[in-house]
């Protein structure tokens, strides 16, 4: 039961962090040239570590669905009243988050033993991967129009977002651990095993 309550708490945290990151401005120039602070993936990846596989899938679905619904732009039609066009289909982020979440979930044994470094490091790496993956999707979709462009700014923004996620991860880890224990959910039940 505490695990179920914690799951719903994580769903709320993921959604609130997604809304909250809309209000965080991009990095000012020249620091990482306009990279965004992506808070939501940090919460999602904690959930991927703390929850069993089915819980991780649920979180990935909710996070991916709301992320696409809020951010995927509609390509405006050239004529008034024309058919809208989605460059990238609604739901692709669900697959991306599920894949990354599954890899994270594979690290769960270490997390259960209290290893916080896994969440910290991989949140940064995977957040950077999300930024690169999004760009690749756009670049491949627009390849006919403008050729395949992959400028250095992509790496700068990915690095900026990844570093921000890595810096925020310990804070999120501590916060969610504390809330988990208050609810009665022990995120690191095998911590004593590590100490022995």
């Amino acid at each position: 039961m505490p695990a179920v309550i914690f799951f719903f708490f994580l769903v709320g945290a993921v959604l609130l962090s997604m809304i909250g990151q809309h209000f965080i401005p991009p990095f000012p120039a020249p620091w990482f040239t306009g990279a965004r602070v992506l808070l939501m993936p940090v919460f999602l990846f904690y959930g991927a570590l703390a929850m069993p596989f089915s819980g991780m899938l649920g979180l990935a679905f909710i996070a991916g669905f709301f992320w696409d619904a809020l951010t995927l732009p509609v390509v405006p039609s050239l004529l008034p009243g024309g058919e809208p066009l989605f460059e990238i289909p609604l739901g692709w982020s669900i697959i991306l988050y599920a894949v990354l979440g599954s890899i994270m979930n594979g690290m769960r044994p270490w997390f259960r033993r209290g290893r916080w470094e896994i969440h910290c490091l991989l949140s940064g790496v995977f957040t950077a991967l999300i930024v690169v993956a999004e760009y690749l999707m756009i670049a491949l979709k627009r390849i006919e129009e403008s050729g395949f462009l992959f400028p250095g700014i992509v790496w700068q923004r990915a690095l900026g977002s990844g570093l921000a996620a890595m810096l925020l991860a310990p804070l999120v880890f501590f916060l969610l651990n504390t809330v988990g224990r208050l609810i009665g959910f022990e995120p690191h039940p095998e911590r004593e095993t590590l100490r022995r």
Binding site: H22, F65, T71, P73
Partner: protein
């Protein structure tokens, strides 16, 4: 693999497949629905940031008040002159049997949030269908064109900015016969966006500072709205291309007007 895992994988795949099967119109409705559900949270967040940005000392407020009063008087005087000119223009147009030009009907809106996605340039405004805003309506400020509404909820809407590569605007260069398409540049910084105007003629004689405005072709954007100014021109193998600096400072946008029709 346990039964729970198998069931969750099947359910997951089924839901994702259902989402992929949605046609664009239904996907847009899903987006509008999500926006409607999250509107209170966005507006609450926006109130907090507006309150924080609005914190000023009494001295600052007094100074701002004086400046605004002076500006108001100047604008009233200009407005009266413009009204007289408009009346004269309409009389002359009628005399020449031109179609009467109606002023835009505008709905003011505040920017609630900027999209937190890295590769798309959109903003969310606090007006929606309940306020007369609909999909494909242009958004502008007193300085020029801002973008176009792409998704709309009941009290909230998403505007794609002209700095986005997907936002294409038919435009012409004032003082010339040159017409082209203006769109955003994918790889410039969000803080200093540049626009590109393509499909110009290779021997177009464009100089720095020439104004670019909407041409009205296609009926999406009304004609004559400033887009920006030419920064430089390049003759490419198949076309002429101009780099255009936007008229509106898109990184500091706080309020816009949505063109909902004509008066």
């Amino acid at each position: 693999m346990s039964r729970t895992h198998i069931i969750s994988i099947i359910a997951f795949i089924g839901l994702v497949a259902a989402l992929f099967a949605l046609n664009p119109r239904n996907s847009q409705k899903v987006q509008a629905g999500v926006l409607n559900v999250l509107t209170p949270f966005f507006k609450a967040g926006s109130s907090v940031t507006t309150f924080r940005d609005g914190l000023k000392t009494l001295e600052q407020l007094e100074k701002q008040n004086t400046e605004l009063l002076t500006q108001n008087k100047e604008l009233k005087a200009i407005s009266q002159t413009l009204r007289d000119l408009e009346a004269e223009n309409q009389k002359l147009r009628a005399a020449l049997e031109y179609r009467q030009r109606a002023a835009f009907k505008l709905v003011p809106a505040r920017i609630v949030t900027r999209d937190s996605a890295t590769w798309w340039n959109t903003v969310t405004i606090d007006k929606g269908t309940a306020d007369g805003v609909d999909i494909d309506m242009p958004a502008m400020t007193d300085e020029g064109l801002v973008g176009k509404v792409t998704t709309v909820g009941e009290h909230i809407a998403v505007v794609v900015l002209i700095a986005d590569e997907n936002c294409k605007v038919a435009a012409n260069v004032v003082g010339t016969r040159e017409q082209g398409i203006v769109k955003g540049d994918r790889i410039t910084s969000n803080t200093m966006p540049q626009l590109g105007m393509g499909f110009l003629s290779r021997d177009a004689k464009l100089t720095r500072g020439q104004q670019v405005v909407t041409s009205g072709v296609g009926g999406v954007y009304p004609a004559g709205i400033p887009i920006g100014v030419v920064d430089r021109f390049e003759a490419r193998p198949l076309e002429g291309f101009a780099v255009v600096l936007p008229a509106v400072n898109l990184s500091e946008l706080q309020d816009v007007f949505v063109v909902v029709g004509r008066k």
